[in-house]
Chain length 483, copies 2
């Protein structure tokens, strides 16, 4: 029966047409749907449940570092938004403006937050008088709006869901420590929960956050075209915002000083990363730790007489598994088992559990892994032990495969021709020395469309020659095309 | 030492100046702060932690009824918003409009959602073809914007946090059942978690949701002026939105029909209710089940030699209580114990735990209840048993006191003069027969400022005379002033 797969939702070829494959997977797996507002998406229950699981794991990690959640207003008065010069210059082209409210023209337009530094820092200025009021460690989960001309589900959206953390500190050292700590939280979250290996590093001056002193990033490699995706960023803002927004305090010696700030954000584009890193021709492969459904149970019977026998076993299986896994029983009676197999593979459920009358007679079920396709009979009595083990194996396997993809497609490059060729071939990350000049960086971007994704923390410890100008360089960078 | 309370944050008198008391408690207990945007507030970590606890409990209950979370866009095209006539008429005066984005005037302004029926129903129309696609049961947690001329923290805000559930059904009966079910979820949540008794009932035609067939509500009585607060509403929308937005489906007999919808919402105004129902002259009294901190530990020592002894005991106490309660140890060394006692009373922490050197010698601590002020020594070995018991007692005690306040101030009224007098005196809820005419309802509103809060489900089962016109009536209603 499992051979009869009935109607198959055809997906575009993963290798040959990755961009179309991505769009189709998002829609057919019911993660998100187009909305009547250009550039925005509706996040459907299956996609949102995935986000909720991610949120729970990241929120826990953030709180463990002493951060508390809060909520700041959606709207920012335009003049307040404009106070930090670099910040407004970077974001002004992307903002949405509310100009009418309550049937009146507003005296001052309100910016719909694209990020919240400009509304949070004035509050910190009010709350901080003495060094005893520091640090302030706050995070918020919310949606933000950035006018996006080339929207792409989860990756670039006019409105997106994220968390943004904002801290204030008595010293630059402490701010630096916090910005690095939060990058490490992101790295651990993305690698452990999403099974996506990343390259942590620092952004170049031209790629850093508008208004920041330094921006740190974790960069992941996507499947298909092997482009990079910036999966999370953490900014040491120095005292730029402290000075502009008057976050002033008396230190322990009674001296007036400005606070130093950090901000750090991770958005639902990591859903896009999860799709692109692990997916294949059949659709999604969700990492078990965040999958909304970890085990889907498909009862198989033909005659009514078999139904009761199977259903009784299904109830036992569900009761046995519920304490150890997120289980869903697919009881739809207008779909064949084969149709269901396809759908749950498309939706990336890590384990499928089949039970038919002959399985019941043998007190067993058949488990099928989404990652390897491997089938195995398992005694019902052992399910509660075997399933968690398999889920761990799958999680580890996804990470290993993604690590291999990243390693295999990250290559040290020493000539400019090679760099150009690799960018043209969508060949992955190119690791090369760079002298630090914006001119060299810009030339690569114009000529190859590859950008400096980051200056990795992990450096060879030797010096070299800039891949562009041949000048002296003490740091390698990652060049890659990026989403 | 506990007598020396140091600096006391003076609050306005709870009985004499309730409105000012409310504003001060919100600010001084650090629940929320004013923001630079008129009509909005910043929800500070202590207030937000309270909201997170409420969210967790309500979210769990909502999901238990089969509802899934999702996320729909913040913006609604103006023409789409305008499709349901009553709906737009009700909300148009309150909307905020985005007219510019990405440095351009928009061809069509976007409404910032005041509620999401008009963006969700078009999606349901896309997802529903057959009766097999029904019901759709979706909820979202988000912020919404309604231009508010008389803002008041948590109660009326230009932007507020809430959940809004939206369902679609194959029949009106099923929609009715769902709208009643969700009201019951709200009643259970508010009474069980927030210890606030409510009167469930139906709204009059003039008070129902713009576009609804019927609106159900739970109404609570606040302290102080004994005004009513609408704590949650659930709407049976009939097929009004189904027809306007074309949510059409083929039923089991192959006939084309329109889906029936419900929507239901509960906002962070229940934080306002929690403040106003349980508070007193000293500040907040938070119900233990949702209190961010259930037990605050205040170590008491004078000389350094005592400090180590006390700290060692504090560590043991914290370890013993952490598995059974949310515990916070207040180790600030620039505040006296008395100052801390005041602050935690203001912040409404249900239990205070004091430990000094003499307590340590006796292997005991002193527990002080926020609700009764009662002090009792408790052996350290018994803490993990006694604390959960006391928290349950406090939760039950708060509910009983609130129930008494509601019952004592809900009075059957048979003459119009009495109704007027009670409204003028802020005397609470008046229960009276009403003939159902909008004219009588409007007269009461104009002459007394009291409105019909609801037609309670719980009716005497007899008929009577309308309190206004003397006409025949088969239902009593609750008249009250409302926030």
């Amino acid at each position: 029966m499992s051979e009869d797969r009935g109607f198959v939702e055809e997906l575009s070829d993963y290798e040959d047409d990755f961009d179309r494959w991505y769009v189709e997977v998002v829609r057919k797996a019911e993660l998100a749907d187009e909305s009547p507002v250009r550039g925005t998406r509706v996040i459907r229950p299956y996609g949102f449940a995935l986000w909720e699981n991610m949120q729970a794991e990241l929120d826990r990690r953030i709180k463990e570092t002493g951060v508390q959640n809060a909520y700041f207003p959606l709207f920012i008065p335009q003049s307040m938004f404009a106070r930090e010069a670099e910040h407004v210059e970077g974001f002004a082209p992307e903002v949405a403006l509310v100009t009418r409210g309550g049937n009146r023209e507003l005296e001052e337009p309100l910016v719909v937050r694209p990020t919240s530094e400009a509304i949070i820092c004035p509050m910190y200025a009010r709350w901080v008088q003495s060094y005893r009021d520091l640090p302030i460690l706050i995070n918020q989960w919310c949606s933000v709006v950035r006018w996006e001309e080339r929207p792409r589900a989860f990756l670039r959206a006019l409105e997106f869901l994220w968390q943004e953390g904002h801290t204030a500190h008595a010293s630059l050292e402490e701010a630096e420590e916090r910005s690095r700590l939060m990058l490490e939280v992101y790295r651990d979250f993305v690698e452990t929960e999403l099974a996506i290996p990343v390259v942590p590093g620092q952004k170049s001056e031209s790629e850093k956050f508008a208004g920041a002193l330094r921006t740190y990033t974790i960069e992941a490699m996507m499947g298909g075209k092997k482009w990079a995706l910036q999966a999370g960023t953490s900014h040491n803002l120095g005292d730029h915002f402290g000075k502009v927004f008057d976050i002033e305090f008396l230190d322990a010696e009674g001296q007036r000083r400005f606070a130093c700030n950090t901000s750090w954000g991770l958005s639902f584009r990591v859903i896009g990363a999860t799709i692109m890193v692990h997916g294949d021709d059949r659709g999604l492969k969700l990492p078990p730790r965040v999958a909304p459904i970890q085990v889907v149970v498909v009862p198989i019977w033909r005659r009514e007489a078999e139904r009761d026998v199977v259903e009784e076993a299904v109830a036992r299986v569900r009761d046995a598994l519920t304490p150890v896994a997120r289980v869903f029983v697919d009881r739809r009676d207008d779909k064949t088992p084969g149709w269901k197999f396809n759908e749950w593979e498309l939706k990336g459920v890590p384990l499928r559990l089949e039970i038919g009358p002959r399985d019941v007679a043998k007190e067993q079920v058949v488990l099928v892994r989404r990652d390897t396709g491997e089938k195995q009979p398992v005694a019902m009595a052992e399910l509660a032990t075997v399933v968690p083990e398999l889920l761990s194996e799958i999680q580890a396997g996804l990470f290993t495969a993604a690590r291999r993809m990243l390693d295999d497609n990250t290559v040290p490059v020493t000539t400019y021709v090679e760099l150009q060729q690799r960018a043209a071939d969508n060949a992955g990350f190119s690791r090369a020395f760079w002298c630090g000049s914006e001119a060299c960086e810009a030339q690569v971007k114009i000529e190859t469309k590859a950008t400096i994704r980051c200056i990795p923390f992990d450096q060879p410890g030797t010096t070299g020659r800039c891949i562009v100008c041949g000048g002296e360089s003490d740091a390698q960078v990652i060049f890659a095309r990026a989403y």
